[in-house]
Symmetry: C3
Subunit: 438 residues, 3 copies
């Protein structure tokens, strides 16, 4: 197992038992774990704060929750599985008839052994989730339900890892981390994001990178509310989710559809034989819904394997660490590393003298007959050199050149560097990016 | 039979016997019939009036026309069929040799039982049309031909039904009504236009509608000559012709090719499984030739079933009421009613606060889990709501939203109304239309 | 054999024996031959002159070159075949070991009977080319090599045939003429260019035409260096090469990809059933590399049959007159003549009165029923007339009209002339062309 694979596995094993929600101690504990691995600033936003059209909800914490027979036996116990309790259940301690209890139970008749995942963030109610098999066994006339939870003024927590680069142009990676014990959704993406950030933290960077670990929807809305300036600097962004299941990667384009991030990942997907798994933007999904709301319209796509709701384990107790494939996690990380390689190297070079071809021979850049590679220049061939010289008109980025020539991006980068060394190309100071904003 | 079907049948039966031409009493009588059904202003433009590059021709009327044997038997008799006489035949009363007569006869050797339809509006001549079978029976050495017609200063008549709406932006429907006893060409379209106008006259209208009933070519040229201002206000237009035969509907795009009317009808055709019957503009056909001449270049397409010349009954005595299918007429009317539903409802709405998604839950617009429809909002689902919220950036019309989301146009309209009710969307004052003019 | 075919054959036979290079007497002699056929100005540019990024090299001439056995027998003799000597070989007269000799020999093990073509313009070295079979027969321990060549200050020669037209807008045809005894590459194109220029010289011309006969690369660079003004006037251009082999024509688009020349030749290729032989621009090939360098970016494509390197006879002694097909040469010439017919006739006409259709009948341009052709107007049909009237809005050229209508270009030209005769169309003074320059 590679070092990266081992780290990914460690993160998932460590985080799976924690009961996260959109607020509360479990979320805070998760962010604390991440902060041990990468430079992370943890923000706390008080209950009641207005954020865009929303308001930070009360903080939810649970000490205990169970259903008892009147004889005192626990038949459903939150301490056995985090999914047993509907998120944001209010406190209760009552004897209820089976009929009343039934209106507070959630199970999956078609998947009778699985516990579903349910939430009630913005409604005052309570409820339990259990396997349908266990539900059918509840035949007593009455039960005692006990939920020892708090719904009180507190704060919403989120984590931000900012890695400054030579340019203030930013790349955004965003992962939701509000789900309790669900592995693919979204510990897979959280783990990949940690490793991606760790790698970036240890190198020089041309661009600045921002990793967000936040509760879904309300977290993104909170960040956007307080960070209009940073949002304006986002040139490329990717929401990461469900990166550990066995399905091939799926890329959902940004709302713009033709942002550079869409072209970059589109190319990586094509190179991986996954062109048919590039999907258009739809306003259902993860936090790209907020980044791509019309007022922001950021160039942010979403990378995942199985899209939400498309796999039977989705939002059930079957989405556990055993459901993940380590190879899926490492492959996801590798594609993102290739993306960063493009982001860090794509640039617009321009010919210092654009008239005619330069004489390559006297500069040692001319491949002799019967030899396609300029002898002193590993990493690219003669044709790549000619493509770069022809397209370096200030209108084409290195990425464009690779697309048009069919040559690899890195060989275009190498050829450009060799030509720049000879004074035949000059940097324009432009790196390729979409302006943000609507 | 529906009320609409009965009305359509009544119009056709009433109008078929009349001998129309591009001027004259038959045309006037036809317009009189229409004026009994819908508010119609009838215009008379005097012979000799210059209209664009043309001139209003003399008015043509016929009292009697026949070919007699020298023994006095009528062998061809205009009173038996309006098609027997070449339109605009000048008066004659002569005995002619069979050879001379033959140069004035028109028949169809390949359709020996049918009488063809022929005109000579702008040449001074005379002629008779007859079945080829009857022609072959004319074996005498000489015949007497009598045509009691007048070609005298008079006027060209046309009818205009204008239905004002809240906006001065206009929708134009144009049907030629110069053909004598031909049912599909064009009593079918005249009847459909009458019913469409009658329906619109009885409702409130956002847009203004103008229905023109005019002789082909010279009528459209006359209207365009005198109505440059109205032409400038045309935002959408459709020439209606041959809507009663058994062929599926055909839509010929406007010269612009991508006018809103082309997109609207293109979508209706696609929904009807008729995408392959949408055709590009060509400068042959009906009065779209004039509306789409380069100086006007109006967004006017043409809706028909069989295109001109493409069916064997075209311009023959076989194009009679028995050739029509009532279902074809009512289907044509229904598609046009669906078009009007789009025209009246398409609008550009914009988010009042475009940043992030609004919190739908507190507004009763959030679908609970396991339920795709917001409970209090029939007519659309949660996804439609999200699409509208995401696309309401002032760049997308309701029609665009339906196209992009795959949701039905009317569900987008309903969702937009619900969001506007909650103050989340505001009207822009823009209705979607193409500017007219070249 | 047609006159054109006979002339083409004569040129090839006359030019094949000459030993051309990028400078020297063979090149001068070739230009002299061309100057006997068409008006040609021959330029001499001195050695050492700076041209763009390059410098005119020394002039190379050879009096004698051979390899002798030590007994004095000639085993390789330049007087037997021009390809035996590596171009730009420096003088030498030495006895060399077989091992040393071997590093100066070039042969083709996979084509053992053919002599390859090799050059060393910008390196000081010497070498011989020979069949692999002959090379294997060189088994002596030592040989005497003698090359009596000069590499001295002189000049680079090129020829320019300028045929002025009514407009100063220019059409460029460019052929490289630096190769020694190779027939397809490029005597085929030189011959076709001579005949094309001869035809144009004898007619009135709307556009100006410039034919360049120049050494590859350094010739184009030299011309571009000294002719920035003329380059700015180039509206259409074609590099001609390898037009005599048996492959179908190939057209390589200009760097712009959508220049008028690309559309014109694209159409001619499509009409010839060769749409699949139209290729995108790549920066490898002939002198389009220089014309299409980013600073110039001229609308210059390349017409050829087999692309460079794609046929086994390429750059070997098998590319001799026997390899050519006369039919290929005459077909190439004919396509270029059709191109000139388009270039000379494409124009933008505009309706004098663009409102409605004009009344064609009173102008004798109306086709009577059952007759598709206006009686007095051969060369086009009624539909073509209607297309021209509809599209003559100042936005569509005759070529555009032909493309949109599906009518032949020449029928559109004829219909436009007939309409102009009647005062219905007026010339705009615009002929269709791309502006040059980056």
């Amino acid at each position: 197992m590679s070092r990266a694979a081992a780290e990914l596995q460690t993160h998932i094993d460590a985080l799976f038992p924690i009961c996260r929600s959109i607020t509360g101690q479990g979320l805070r504990q998760t962010l604390g774990y991440i902060a041990d691995k990468i430079p992370l600033r943890i923000w706390e936003v008080p209950t009641g704060t207005a954020v865009l059209d929303w308001e930070i909800p009360p903080e939810w914490n649970v000490r205990h929750a169970a259903i008892y027979t009147l004889a005192g036996d626990r038949v459903v116990d939150f301490s056995q599985h985090n999914l047993h309790l509907v998120q944001y259940s209010e406190p209760v301690d009552r004897i209820v008839s089976r009929e009343e209890l039934d209106t507070h139970l959630h199970s999956l008749p078609n998947q009778p052994d699985l516990i579903p995942y349910r939430t009630a963030y913005y409604r005052r109610t309570w409820g339990f989730c259990l396997s349908h098999r266990d539900r059918l066994a509840l035949t007593d006339d009455a039960y005692r339900v006990v939920i020892v939870s708090t719904l009180e003024p507190g704060s919403l927590s989120y984590g931000e890892c900012f890695l400054p680069g030579a340019s203030s142009d930013e790349v955004l990676f965003s992962s939701h981390c509000c789900h309790p014990s669900l592995a693919n959704d979204n510990l897979s993406a959280i783990s990949v994001a940690i490793e991606l950030a760790r790698g970036l933290a240890g190198r020089t960077r041309r661009l600045s990178y921002r990793f967000l670990f936040m509760p879904g929807t309300i977290g993104a809305i909170t960040w956007l509310h307080f960070n209009r300036d940073a949002a304006d600097r986002v040139r490329h962004g990717v929401v990461l989710s469900c990166l550990g299941d066995s399905a091939p990667l799926t890329y959902k384009r940004s709302r713009r559809g033709d942002a550079m991030i869409d072209r970059y990942i589109g190319r990586l997907m094509q190179d991986a034989g996954l062109a048919d798994r590039v999907r258009p933007f739809i306003p259902m999904g993860y936090d790209e819904r907020q980044y791509c709301s019309p007022g922001f319209n950021l160039p942010v796509g979403c990378l995942m394997r199985s899209p939400p709701g498309s796999f039977p384990e989705y939002h059930t107790s079957a989405d556990n660490p055993g459901f993940l494939r380590l190879q899926s996690l490492t492959d996801s990380l590798e594609l993102l590393e290739r993306l960063i390689s493009i982001l860090e190297n794509d640039a617009i070079w321009v010919r210092t003298n654009p008239y005619g071809e330069p004489q390559l021979g006297r500069r040692g850049l001319y491949a002799q007959q019967d030899n396609h590679d300029p002898s002193h220049c590993p990493g690219f061939d003669q044709e790549t050199l000619l493509w770069v010289l022809n397209l370096a008109d200030g209108q084409h980025s290195s990425f464009d050149m690779a697309e048009l020539s069919g040559k690899s991006f890195m060989s275009v980068v190498a050829a450009s560097a060799a030509l720049a060394e000879e004074g035949l190309l000059a940097p324009t100071g432009l790196i390729t990016a979409d302006a943000s904003g609507a």
